[in-house]
Amino acid sequence: MSVPGQATHSRRSTEQRAARRQVLIGLTWVSPWLFGAGLFVFAPMAMSLYYSFTDYPLLEPPLWSGLDNYKRMFSDPTFLRVVWNTTAYAAVSIPLFTIVALILAGVLAKTGRMSSFYRACVFIPTLVPLIASAMVWMWLFNGEYGLINKLLAMISIRGPAWIVDRNWVLPSMVIMSVWGVGQGVVIYVAAMQDVPKQLYEAARIDGMGTVRQFIHVTLPMISPAILFNVIALTIAAVQVFAVPSVMFRRPDGQNPAGHYYTMYLYENAFVYGNMGYASAMAWMQLLVVLLLTALLLFAGRRLVHYARV
């Protein structure tokens, strides 16, 4: 009994030693990320969690203030306004972006001589850096000399003062985001090309037209890609910053309709010097992103599952 036991034991310990060695090797390979993420992601997260419970002016050390920063948000009208603006932007732009991307992808998924050209045309706008696209669209949206209003004038419509008029700020932002739809199109085209051809054959035998094939075969088959893309879009929309901070900034101050969450967070941190409050806003944002992602995954899993039955 003792002999086999010892053998097992020693074998196990050799195995354990080998396993430990493997862990060591693995850790060595991933150490750059572990170190980098520790220093540039996890430590900052912990720090900002702590700061969010402090009063922390830019030039002085943080001072514990409990839940003050979190309480303050709900009585801060500017905070409530940026939350509203950001929510409205996400709620309108994400569905529209997705629908347009899906339609274009459905049309462009067929391989043909011209469709790679069309795909390139749709994709090129996504290359334009945000700041540059903000400049270009400011010019297009100019109420007097902008191309859009000039074209509208040709059909006798007097266009609005897009980025000045509070009612047109949201449409301006949405139009710009749809201009960048190429990102989504490319993803969906790639997903559509992976859909097995037999499924379409079967659908055709069932007498389905092109549109019904798209709805009943294509969409369910690429639903994981849609879900992933919608999550990515949501995370991005919640953080929208560069474009509106350039487009809606005027000599007489920021256009309140074009004031978004991350902009106000940035102003609190680096303009007003309320780093504690900014940190609390950042954690609120993180929680919302996590919550939305979980919700989308939950809803998405059911939808994706349902479609595949």
Partner: protein
Amino acid sequence: MSNASPKPGARSRLKGVYFHIAMLLVSLVFLAPLVWMLSTSVKPEDQAASGEIHLLPTPPSSVFAQAADNYSAVWNDRTIRFPLYLRNTLIVAILGVVGMTLSSAVVAYGLSRVQWRGRGVVFFLVLATMMIPFPVLMVPLYIIFRELGWTGTLKPLWVPAWFGNAFNIFLLRQFFMTIPPQLDEAARLDGCSHWSIFWRIILPLAKPALAVVALFHFIYVWNDFVGPLIFLTDRDQFTLALGLQLYQSQSGNTPWNLLMAASALMISPLVVLFMLTQRTFVQSASTEGLK
């Protein structure tokens, strides 16, 4: 579909013509903003701000002279120094791309080609960090870089790239997983170390994926606005994104034709790169779909 039509070929050809007309229109809509940008950038100021729509300046023969005027005015501006900002952006981009590609590949190797307990946990952590919004890190990163004495230098913009990035690691790991394991088993029998397997077998096979990561990071650097905005103070260190914003906001004194010329200058390297590497580009964009 009806099969009563006597000439199905003609009909579908006609449908095809309609389709292409529609698609050409759609393409035009997508390209129009950039075309208009270029058009504005080769006009004199008074023609840029006029009520009519012309693609070329009047007289059209003045287009080259006017383009030269506008673009050289942007390039040679004394206070907003685009040549300098281009250099800074390139420094950040080159150092960042090299670091990002290398480090992400190393980490991805550890997450795909080495068997070890805890690998799943680390991979999950990597994926989880993809969801963290940058604003959560903004304030503490500023403080960390300040303690390191890096604010006011380009370091905060490229050093972190040397530690990999969740998305790129994920992308490379997925690719490394598709490489048959027999390859490194054979190499291991020949006495190769992990490092030489990585260096001699995996990296050469993964060139397309590495190109995607490099391209991604390059575009990211070209695009990045928040990072430079927070970490740079000295105007001599600005990147193109900040420079362009500065050019526009500078007491609001930049005419539209010059602003469009500056924007075109900033966009052009990316478009050229796109023309040259279209396949990699489209591939890189589609990998975001978690194929």
